[in-house]
């Protein structure tokens, strides 16, 4: 598989404790990162022409939690956020997402998710990564978020509360993000849960053209200023839900801003 030399350089500049084999303590591999981000980089720049705004809000070092919305289809948005952290940050950072549990059960999926630092979504993993001052990427809508239909692509579904308790417990700043474009790239009209069961995945999105192959829609991601909450993580649900609501509201604002920005860029240049 072709590897991009510039990406190789970015991977070499990651501030992670790689050993002489190019493997970090979580099994993240320089070789696999280079291959993955060579492909993702092309998708990010050429195919989806992603525009990232407010990337300066992401801390250059130390623990932080990127918390965003799913924009539909499948976790295309997650992959492109990973790419934006690697390709646009200075120094580059590896965001580590919490992968759906079924991915680790699948051949190939298990190997590549592990070698690129996308660990199974377990509270133990999230807490440990933050304690190690890593950059965690969280989508509190979960699988319900990726299952949004085309008409729901700018909406937000219910958020889980675990991410706030974790942020409080580990004293981690939350960087909210709003992502748009995923729903245009994979315009889902129906989710087939029966087919998903057959294939060992939660569901299979169905588009007007059948397969859920992504269209070359432009995407935009807006990062907001870090949000900090005080507490231990053991607070009552009412308090936690209040914090969740604040984050959700901010993400909703960022989605709207990204939507407006993308629309104006389309009108200005026509290229997007």
């Amino acid at each position: 598989m072709a590897r991009d030399e510039a990406v190789k350089d970015l991977v070499n500049r990651l501030e992670l404790p790689f050993n002489a084999f190019g493997i970090d303590p979580y099994g993240v591999s320089k070789k696999h990162l280079t291959t993955s981000f060579s492909i993702l980089g092309w998708l990010y720049r050429k195919y989806f022409r992603v525009r990232a705004v407010g990337i300066e809000h992401v801390p250059k070092r130390g623990r932080a939690m990127l918390v965003g919305n799913h924009s539909g289809g499948y976790a295309l948005d997650g992959a492109l956020v990973l790419a934006s952290m690697m390709l646009e940050m200075e120094p580059p950072r590896l965001a580590q997402g919490m992968a759906e549990r079924f991915i680790n059960q699948l051949p190939i999926g298990s190997l590549w998710s592990s070698r690129t630092g996308q660990l199974t979504g377990l509270p133990e993993h999230a807490e440990r990564l933050l304690e190690d001052d890593r950059l965690l990427m969280v989508f509190p809508e979960g699988a319900k978020g990726t299952a949004k239909l085309y008409k729901e692509r700018y909406s937000l579904v219910d958020f889980g509360t675990g991410f706030i308790r974790l942020a409080l417990k580990t004293k981690t700043p939350i960087v909210p993000l709003g992502f748009v474009g995923g729903g245009d790239a994979v315009p889902t009209v129906h989710n087939s849960y029966a087919l998903g069961k057959l294939l060992g995945v939660p569901y299979v999105p169905v588009t007007p053209y059948g397969l859920a192959l992504p269209l070359p829609a432009s995407c935009e991601v807006h990062y907001g200023e870090p949000m900090r909450f005080e507490g231990s993580g053991n607070e009552d649900d009412t308090i936690i839900k209040g914090y969740v609501e604040q984050v959700k509201t901010r993400i909703g604002q960022l989605v709207e801003a990204a939507r407006d920005s993308r629309r104006s860029h389309r009108n200005d240049g026509g290229a997007r």
């Binding site: 084999f21 303590p25 099994g27 680790n104 999926g109 592990s114 377990l122 440990r128």
Partner: protein
């Protein structure tokens, strides 16, 4: 200190015995298997832990510390006999220790206690229950022995108990689970999976066990060395070649055409990682490994070069 090592004839236990002797301890050993060329000054008794003669050693020699390395890990050993040795032997060792004034028991268990499964955490901490019994019931006796030993922390509060969950060892003896797996020139892996494997060089493992005994580290501890590395890298760095086999085919080949005869659950251990967090042990004893992953694999490659 007078120390009795049960299972002293195994390759790792011999290294522990010699290290303890060199550090000025009085060392006694016990095993069903002989240790014919045992160095002078290490007294070895050829007996089974579960026999009366074993209790006589506790009664007459009054060791202060007992290191239990007499569990059987090999899956090739018969299931019932393995269970009798692992669970019955552990019980006998604790009963004799309590009855005859032993102050400290070090149980040397395996990190495989935690089991390998797709949805278990990457780094296991000591407070976790075992995960993999359902998919790999053949490990149940080792898990039971570990739990029985750990239970002594509450059952026998006057006895200092250390339960060590040691990662795979690699070293000159070329024995142990990982060494057996690396025996051939071509090593089968499950296509599409490449779990992280954690190992410790034998000399470091012997030092860790010795430290646990000397420092009377009370509690349950994961014992590990360098950071884990992918299994395929271990295979390649030790001079072997990987042979990627689709899982259904590998299952069908087990026990045939030179493939090891293993229970189907064993495949989970080459699909998913078992990685432990060894910070508690390091904090309790000050242990740090001396042989890192690069040197360990290079040395093993040279040791096994044909």
């Amino acid at each position: 200190m007078k120390v009795l090592i049960a299972g002293v004839s195994s390759a790792l236990a011999r290294q522990v015995a010699m290290l303890m002797k060199s550090r000025g301890h009085e060392v006694l050993g016990m095993d069903r298997r002989p240790w014919r060329d045992a160095p002078e000054g290490i007294e070895v008794f050829e007996t089974d832990l579960r026999k009366r003669a074993a209790e006589d050693i506790f009664r007459t020699r009054r060791p202060e510390c007992v290191i239990h390395m007499a569990t059987v890990n090999a899956l090739t050993a018969g299931g019932d006999e393995r269970a009798r040795i692992n669970v019955g032997g552990t019980r006998a060792l604790f009963e004799h220790s309590v009855a005859h004034g032993v102050k400290h028991v070090v149980f040397v268990g395996r990190h495989t206690y935690y089991g390998a499964s797709a949805d278990s955490p990457l780094y296991h901490t000591e407070d976790e229950p075992p995960h993999g019994i359902g998919s790999f019931p053949e490990l149940a006796d080792l898990v039971a022995a570990d739990l029985f030993a750990a239970n002594a922390l509450w059952r026998e509060p006057k006895l200092c108990t250390s339960v060590l969950r040691l990662v795979y060892t690699l070293g000159p003896s070329q024995q142990g689970t990982l060494a057996s797996f690396l025996k051939g020139k071509r090593v089968p892996l499950v296509m599409g999976y490449d779990p992280l494997f954690q190992f410790i060089f034998e000399s470091d493992a012997a030092r860790a066990i010795t430290l646990a005994a000397e420092q009377r580290a009370k509690g349950i501890f994961n014992v590990c060395g360098p950071n884990p590395v992918p299994l395929s890298m271990i295979v390649q760095q030790t001079g072997r070649t990987t042979m990627m086999v689709p899982e259904p085919l590998l299952r069908a080949l087990l026990g045939r055409f030179g493939f090891p005869k293993l229970p189907p659950g064993a495949l989970e251990h080459i699909k998913f990682p078992i990685v432990v967090d060894g910070r508690a042990f390091k904090k309790a004893t000050g242990f740090t490994h001396e042989v890192d992953e690069v040197e360990a694999l290079q040395r093993y490659r040279l040791l096994t070069a044909r």
